[in-house]
């Protein structure tokens, strides 16, 4: 089975420092500019912080929405690929994406989506640089596996505590 890895956040760990945004724009465009970043932080006061990027939807709505078929999805990696010649920056994909993971390149006026730093040997820059280790490169399968283990562990703990009293 082909495993599509994507970058996701552990919200409890995220502190909203936005270093992921800065290293992404630096990696891709050699400048510091959060609006160029393909990963964006959301801070909701008082205590919620989380960053979001492309989740490699299996049946990507952005691909479906594009009226010029400028977006395709790689079978191998699940990454959304942009044909710069076909994209005209109309923005339908922005609206189709539930996660706000699409951004516009301010120079070329075509869309940009996380490509897992395919041009970087060490993989996604954001995952490497996050000082809280709040970002991980993972698959949907692994995430649900972790949730299963986590919930059973909690049940066991609760049962042991109940038995002790």
């Amino acid at each position: 089975m082909v495993k599509h890895e994507f970058v996701t956040v552990i919200p409890d760990k995220c502190v909203g420092c936005r270093i992921c945004e800065y290293v992404c724009s630096l990696q891709k465009d050699n400048v510091f500019n959060p609006t160029r970043s393909r990963i964006r932080v959301v801070r909701i006061y008082p205590t919620t912080n989380a960053s979001l990027t492309c989740r490699l939807c299996e049946d990507a709505p952005c691909v479906i929405a594009c009226p010029r078929k400028a977006l395709t999805q790689s079978e191998e990696t699940g990454v959304i690929l942009v044909d710069d010649d076909l994209c005209n920056g109309c923005g339908w994909c922005f609206e189709a994406c539930d996660f706000g993971a699409i951004t516009l390149d301010p120079d070329k006026k075509v869309v940009r989506i996380c490509d897992l730093c395919s041009d970087r040997e060490a993989g996604p820059a954001c995952v490497e640089w996050c000082p809280e280790e709040a970002l991980e490169l993972t698959t949907k399968d692994i995430l649900s596996q972790k949730a299963r283990i986590d919930s059973i562990q909690r049940l066991i703990k609760a049962a042991a505590a109940a038995e002790a009293t």
Binding site: R18, Y22, S25, V31, F32, N33, T47, N49, P131
Partner: protein, 631 residues
């Protein structure tokens, strides 16, 4: 209804600077006129950013001797040289400058969060706001577009409400807002500017200056690139710095946070308690960093580009203050805990929340409440004056109520809102003895009677009572000098500390990472970002330049040696108990400290920079300020 004076700057500013935008925005609220100016590499190299930019811009744009509430008093925002980059703990810091309504001397305060980076991304290093709007406005900086927007629907609202409404009105949740609350509107002398909910440009009354201009807020959204000279080398250097920033050098801030100071200072008899009546607090345990983290902290967040994250956000889970939320640091904890004799953190958190919402400095306002409590204790003010509030030391609910009365200028709050100096002059009856201020600015959290190097730092601090201009408590508490005695050499220590911190506050680096940096490393990262060659010694010299320029500004506005002093209590009443029992600063000791400091600085015995020093630092255009002081 929106009153718009719109000006788009379509002319592309030639970017000849890296890191910096090289752009200054001038706003005249009276006429509604806007214009931009620029600065070059020579200016940048001499004044760096933040502190240097702020003081230089203030001295050049403010007519000597004006009243702080005169519309001609410029309110200045200045970001750091490396704002808007990934330099650790440096992306978002900014300074706010004006002539202070508290001290009638240099007003400066610093904040962080996300606002500073946004201003740089919007394309400005410096914003100069003069005049007074005919009715309430807020400044809306949207990249090149700058507008003055109607704020009549915001007047009377808290700082948090203001940010929310502006974001909704303009339809963008990423707009950063630096706003005043009712405190600034009411010209409370400790009024401040709040941004990003929990961050304050707190000290010296900058919020009151904004209020006097009918300026409710500055809102900014920036989408421009910040381009650095050597991005790859910068990234490599930052990799190492980020690791260090998560290491032992910052462990206090990442762990308990600055509130860890409560118990450590208490043990050293260095914790200002009950309006400085003593240096130890019997209730310290329940207002300690340990207690805070165990019972109240729900999240630790971070500013832009911060690998440390130190923002301890605390919530009150139950009781009469249930639901109160604030970021809790040592200084506000001291000011609303031991300083007011209060040993319960729920009241402390509520008081800080009120300060955030109403937009008043938590430190200064806590000191004012403590002063009020001593007046009440001595019968100098009564329950009638306080509007029924039993303003006793230890009464947390009264303390919280008084913060609100000060911000809204109700009952005795109206007088207390003028600061302890003016309040004690009005109340009389010996209250000046325990009005804890220097140059009109309320004290902060280090008990100076037993920390004599630190006492010198406070006495000479350019913005009034302050620990942040020097950090010289490090020598005393670290045992590197004898904290209970003085000598002329302390002057050299304080001078070094001050000049270092000038640079910190110009780059602008977070002082919580101070152990990571020295002048050489700062110069190196400065050059990687800006492309401007700089050595460690040139950096140090720039810091010295800023200290001297600030001194010249203050002298121009009326400062003399007698203003470099300490509150009467510190110079007369010995610490009553604890390891520092019996200690206080004798007037002759203060003289020794000042003489040594002025000598180290190359100033006259009256504390005036000499001609030689002025020339050495390239400040010749300001020489006449010193000449006027010559006997």
């Amino acid at each position: 209804m929106i009153w718009i004076k719109k000006k788009s700057f379509t002319e592309k500013v030639k970017r000849s600077l890296y890191g910096y935008k090289g752009k200054i925005l001038y706003v005249d609220l009276s006429s509604g006129r806007l214009k931009t100016g620029s600065f070059d590499e020579d200016f940048a190299k001499a004044y760096i950013g933040g502190t240097g930019f702020g003081i230089k811009t203030l001295i050049d744009n403010q007519a000597p001797g004006i009243d702080p509430f005169d519309p001609a008093n410029p309110l200045i925002y200045a970001v750091g040289a490396v704002s808007g980059t990934m330099v650790p703990c440096a992306a978002s810091k900014f300074g706010v400058f004006a002539k202070s309504p508290e001290s009638h001397l240099l007003g400066e305060s610093y904040s962080t969060g996300r606002f500073g980076a946004e201003l740089k991304h919007a394309g400005y290093d410096i914003v100069v706001i003069k005049g007074k709007a005919p009715k309430p406005v807020y400044l809306w900086i949207d990249d090149e577009s700058v507008q003055m927007m109607d704020a009549s629907h915001l007047w009377g609202k808290t700082t948090w409400e203001t940010e929310e409404i502006i974001r909704n009105d303009l339809g963008d949740q990423l707009i950063r807002v630096s706003a005043i609350g009712q405190g600034g509107e009411n010209l409370v002398k400790t009024a401040c500017l709040i941004n990003d909910h929990f961050r304050a440009a707190g000290r010296t009354g900058m919020g009151a200056i904004a209020g006097s201009k009918n300026l409710k807020a500055v809102a900014v959204r920036g989408t421009q690139d910040v381009v650095v000279a050597k991005p790859e080398e910068l990234q490599d250097l930052c990799r190492d710095l980020y690791e260090q920033a998560k290491g032992p050098a910052t462990s206090k801030y990442r762990g308990l946070g600055t509130a860890a100071n409560v118990l450590t200072l208490n043990a050293q008899a260095a914790l200002p308690t009950r309006n400085y009546q003593s240096a130890t607090f019997e209730g310290a345990e329940t207002v300690s960093g340990e207690y805070l983290n165990e019972h109240f902290v729900t999240k630790i967040a971070g500013c832009t580009s911060c690998p440390c994250r130190c923002e301890h956000i605390a919530e009150v889970p139950e009781g009469v203050f249930k639901g109160a939320i604030a970021r809790v640091e040592y200084e506000p904890t001291m000011a609303f805990g031991p300083y007011c004799g209060v040993d319960r953190l729920d009241a402390v958190i509520k008081a800080i929340e009120y300060c955030n919402l109403y937009g008043v400095d938590a430190i200064g306002t806590g000191i004012i409440v403590g002063f009020g409590m001593e007046c009440y204790e001595k019968g100098l003010i009564t329950k009638e004056d306080t509007g029924g509030v039993e303003l006793e030391f230890g009464n947390g609910e009264a303390m919280v109520e008084m913060v609100k009365k000060i911000a809204l200028r109700e009952d005795i709050g109206d007088l207390l809102a003028e600061g302890v100096k003016v309040a004690s002059e009005k109340i009389g009856q010996g209250s000046a003895h325990f009005a804890m201020h220097i140059k009109g600015v309320e004290v902060t959290g280090y008990e100076l009677r037993g920390l004599k190097t630190c006492a010198l730092g406070y006495a000479v601090s350019r913005r009034g009572a302050d620990h942040q201009r020097h950090g010289s408590y490090g020598w005393d508490l670290g045992g590197k000098v004898d904290r209970y005695s003085v000598d002329k050499e302390r002057g050299k220590l304080v001078m070094g500390d001050e000049d270092t911190y000038c640079i910190f506050d110009s780059i602008i680096l977070c002082k919580f990472t101070r152990r990571l940096w020295d002048f050489d490393l700062i110069a190196k990262i400065y050059t990687l970002v800006t492309g401007i060659p700089m050595t460690g010694e040139e950096m140090r010299l720039a810091g010295e330049r800023m200290s001297n320029l600030a001194r010249l500004y203050n002298i121009r506005e009326g400062l003399t040696r007698k203003d470099d002093t300490l509150p009467p209590r510190i110079m007369k009443d010995p610490i009553p108990r604890g390891v520092a029992k019996g200690s206080y600063v004798h007037p002759e000791e203060l003289d020794t400290l000042l003489d040594g400091y002025y000598e180290a600085r190359g100033w006259t015995k009256e504390g005036v920079p000499t001609k030689a020093k002025i020339e050495e630092l390239g400040l010749g255009e300001y020489a006449e300020i010193a000449e006027k002081e010559e006997p």
